[in-house]
């Protein structure tokens, strides 16, 4: 098993009640792996207790990046949320802890 953290880095941002998490592989082999295994289903499962979803995945191969747009993820949005981290700045750390199958 490989952690996403081993092969990629990430940044999260907010717009209203939606969080986007960009996951960027360090090299081409890493991009191939996240492109194959880091599906929107895997990401939705990792965020299921925090976000209603859905999750949309965009591929940006030239930047070796996947951009995940996670809807209804911020407890009503930055301005209304009761959470300690209303912007979801810490949410990128969740995707980096996802385990990917080898192969």
């Amino acid at each position: 098993m490989t952690l996403v953290h081993d092969i990629a880095h990430a940044r999260s941002g907010d717009k209203g009640n939606t969080s986007n998490v960009a996951v960027i592989a360090y090299d081409d082999a890493g991009y191939e792996r996240i492109q194959r295994h880091l599906t929107s289903e895997r990401v939705m499962a990792a965020y299921a207790h925090l976000a209603k979803g859905p999750v949309t995945r965009y591929e940006v191969p030239k930047l070796r990046a996947l951009n995940f747009v996670i809807e209804k993820a911020l407890a009503g949005g930055v301005t209304r949320s009761l959470r300690l981290d209303p912007h979801g700045k810490t949410l990128s750390a969740i995707v980096l802890a996802i385990e990917l199958p080898d192969d």
Binding site: G16, N20, H49, V60, T79, T90
Partner: protein, 449 residues
């Protein structure tokens, strides 16, 4: 032509802006200081005191920046005007004069405020809530359209040393500078793409130069304490190079640029700004040397027929309090304390639409998956109880009950605090036809009230 980023949020650091002005041969300094809900809050402030309603750090920034701007011929562009660009421009002149810079010629951009207009259009659809605007109208505090780069271009064309706006889309502040300086038009899509891409990379200041990035041992940032703000060299042909002061702290490379390129973007092929629809899918970053990156490949489609309007509205109150436990049975004591707080809150007539109990150290940031193996018990924990309340008294009450836990709850409760009630200014958005908005440039070059 060189544009520096002098701020990326309302309370961003001032010193790196001074560093840029001192040593980086800027032509323009752009300070982005306006979060989504800032204008709503400042609109309420302006109602209390009509001369206020602009960015709270304006005085500090003007005193630090304007002497250097005047000395070096750098022109300042900022959305620090928030809910009162005209008042802000007057304040710029006043604070600059106090810092020894007399007669700053300011241009204020007004007309983003569309509150009255929206009152006559209750049929508009709220983008987040999915309901009609009508449902928010009784509680609406502000409504401001995201203006585009053209207002910045036109304001600079007046010869102003300082351009002060209210709501202008963040990247448009930078594109407007490039359109003015190079004479670009809305027909030059590749150029609009270049200017918008530049703005997107620079609008969050240090987020492209090593801020929001360090992961010790995995991706390190040298001299993080000395992070510097970025600048961009934008050619008339749309060429872009991003840089930071030589010898400064932080890092600027393909990795930092890539993270910022996708920051707060949804569909990377369709990032909608008031000026164009930006496509970053073919963008590439080339490291030309330390602290220098060339950006290529930004594309754009023509701007849409609508403008986004951020609608601020009052939405009750939030109250919270915190207290800490440590050692044997710490988590069970925190849980008991949370139950006691909620029971007392109800007994004393507190009203809440939603209560959130966080165990900081376990479940506060990434939530509770419900699987104990995911959230092992820490040695110590800080309990946080937050409530969304319809009234101020209830929001204060929830914090009071947490504050009182050192005597009134389980044993050994440390550092209890009521963080106080806060009025919630929430935001949603609607789209309106471009033609409804009529921005104006007002020259503020005399000390008139």
């Amino acid at each position: 032509m060189r544009i520096g980023a002098g701020a990326g949020m309302a309370d961003d650091r001032v010193a790196p802006g001074v560093q840029l002005l001192q040593g980086s041969d800027l032509d323009y300094l752009v300070c982005e200081c306006l979060a989504e809900r800032t204008i709503a809050r400042e609109t309420l402030n302006r109602k209390r005191s009509p001369e206020l309603g602009y960015s709270p750090m304006l005085a500090e920034r003007v005193r630090a920046f304007m002497p250097l701007c005047r000395e070096k011929g750098v022109r300042l562009v900022s959305n620090m005007g928030a809910a009162n660009p005209r008042g802000a421009a007057k304040a710029v002149r006043r604070h600059a004069a106090e810092a020894g810079v007399n007669d700053v010629r300011c241009a204020a951009v007004i007309g983003d405020e569309v509150t009255d207009l929206l009152r006559s259009h209750p049929e508009l659809a709220l983008l987040d809530a999915g309901e009609r605007l009508e449902s928010l109208l009784p509680r609406m505090a502000s409504a401001n359209a995201y203006l585009g780069a053209d207002v910045v271009r036109d304001a600079l064309a007046t010869g102003a040393e300082a351009v002060i706006t209210g709501r202008v889309a963040d990247p448009s502040l930078f594109l407007g500078v490039a359109m003015y300086h190079h004479g670009w038009s809305y027909d030059d899509l590749p150029l609009l793409a270049a200017g918008t891409m530049t703005g997107h990379l620079l609008e969050c200041s240090v987020q492209v130069t090593g801020g929001y990035f360090a992961d010790p041992g995995r991706k390190d940032v040298p001299r993080l304490a000395e992070l510097a703000y970025p600048f961009a060299d934008v050619g008339a042909d749309g060429s872009i190079e991003i840089g930071k002061p030589s010898g400064s702290g932080g890092r600027l490379d393909r990795l930092t640029c890539t993270e910022q390129a996708l920051y707060e973007i949804h569909n990377p092929a369709r990032y909608i700004t008031p000026d164009c629809v930006l496509d970053v899918t073919d963008v590439s970053f080339e490291e030309l040397g330390p602290d220098r990156v060339r950006v290529r490949g930004a594309r754009a489609l023509p701007r849409t027929d609508t403008l986004k309007v951020v609608v601020g509205y009052t939405d009750g109150w939030i109250g919270s309090g915190e207290v800490a436990y440590a050692g044997i049975n710490a988590i069970e004591r925190a849980r008991l304390a949370a139950a006691v707080v909620q029971e007392r809150f109800r007994m004393e007539g507190g009203k809440a639409d939603e209560i959130l109990v966080d165990l900081i150290g376990m479940t506060a940031l990434h939530g509770d998956t419900g699987r104990p193996q995911d959230r092992p018990e820490p040695y110590e924990v800080r309990l946080r109880v937050a409530a969304r309340c319809p009234d101020r008294r209830s929001a204060d009450l929830i914090g009071d009950h947490v504050r009182q836990l050192n005597m009134q709850g389980p044993y050994a409760a440390g550092g209890p605090v009521n963080l106080g009630p806060r009025e919630v200014i929430a935001v949603d958005a609607v789209l309106i036809p471009r033609s409804w908005v009529k921005p104006e440039i007002v020259l503020i070059d005399k000390d008139v009230s």
